[in-house]
């Protein structure tokens, strides 16, 4: 009988302690001890003070946005990744531009094959180069520049203004 009463009293005591801890949360000492053991976990005080909201009651869209923000994606993270913008392609050359380039190309190739440019040939090549688009003009002039620097092109009167 005495044993039974003692058992009931101990049981009520344990229940009381359990109710207190469950109702008020762990003590400051317990929390600090827990934090010291597992410092990477979020502070339990914060979660203890957070209002108890049922996840199921939160609007899904809001939840998704909050999750995206928490994961560092920002507000628009749930939107599908934008497709890479293709580089703006230059328009294809017109027949006249293609013909002008071919003509200038032939002039440069001829100069490189001969390894020399007279003043008249330079005048002629300049006229051809001035008809091509700026980028092709630059590329062809650079070929002549390299040939000159390599000693493979002799230019009469130093006329290299192309």
């Amino acid at each position: 009988m005495r044993t039974a009463i003692m058992t009931i009293l101990v049981g009520m005591g344990c229940g009381g302690v359990g109710f207190y801890v469950g109702h008020h949360g762990p003590s400051a000492e317990l929390r600090s001890a827990h934090a010291a053991v597992s410092p990477v976990e979020p502070a339990p005080a914060a979660s203890a003070q957070a209002p108890g909201v049922c996840v199921a009651s939160v609007d899904r869209q809001v939840l998704r946005e909050e999750l995206a923000r928490a994961l560092g994606g920002g507000a628009g993270a749930d939107t599908p990744a934008a497709a890479p913008v293709p580089a703006k392609q230059p328009p294809p050359p017109t027949p006249a531009q293609a013909a002008a380039f071919d003509d200038a190309r032939q002039g440069v190739d001829g100069a490189l094959a001969r390894g020399s440019l007279t003043s008249e040939q330079a005048d002629d090549l300049r006229a051809r180069l001035l008809k091509v688009d700026p980028e092709s003009h630059y590329q062809l002039v650079t070929e002549l520049v390299v040939a000159l620097n390599h000693g493979k092109l002799k230019v009469e009167n130093g006329d290299m203004i192309f």
Partner: protein, 138 residues
């Protein structure tokens, strides 16, 4: 010849001489560079190199080979140099906006320095618009 007449004539000669000397001195005042010939250096392995020269000196040189210039279009430009001692020259071209601006600052009294890499690209263009440069007269 009377002594007084000889004295006044001597004075006149002195005054004229002084004026001429002063004028000559004024005309020659200021620091002047005496060199500015077109020079170039080229690496015979990778064909990179550089050149320098003053436009006025190149033009007034006694030989008929020296020439140095830069020319530009809206999107690219080039500098070219031919020294007196070589029949070949060196050149570089560029699309770099900064170097194009430098090239466009060349005038008849400028000194130009440029450097070309192995592909003929300009890696450096410098223009000196210096009062010490000889003016290009014709």
């Amino acid at each position: 010849m009377p002594k007084s007449k000889w004295k006044s004539k001597w004075k006149l000669v002195m005054v004229v001489t002084g004026v001429v000397l002063m004028a000559a001195g004024a005309a020659r005042a200021g620091y002047k560079l005496q060199t500015g010939q077109v020079r170039m250096s080229r690496n015979d392995v990778d064909y990179s190199g550089f050149a320098s020269g003053t436009l006025s000196n190149a033009r007034s040189s006694s030989d008929s080979n020296q020439r140095i210039y830069c020319y530009t279009y809206p999107t690219f430009g080039a500098c070219v140099a031919f020294p007196s001692t070589l029949t070949s020259g060196i050149s570089c071209s560029t699309q770099d906006a900064g170097m194009l601006a430098v090239m466009r600052s060349v005038n008849g009294d400028s000194s130009v320095f440029f450097q070309a890499d192995t592909q003929g690209n300009c890696v450096n263009v410098v223009v000196y618009n210096d009062s010490a440069n000889m003016p290009k007269l014709n």
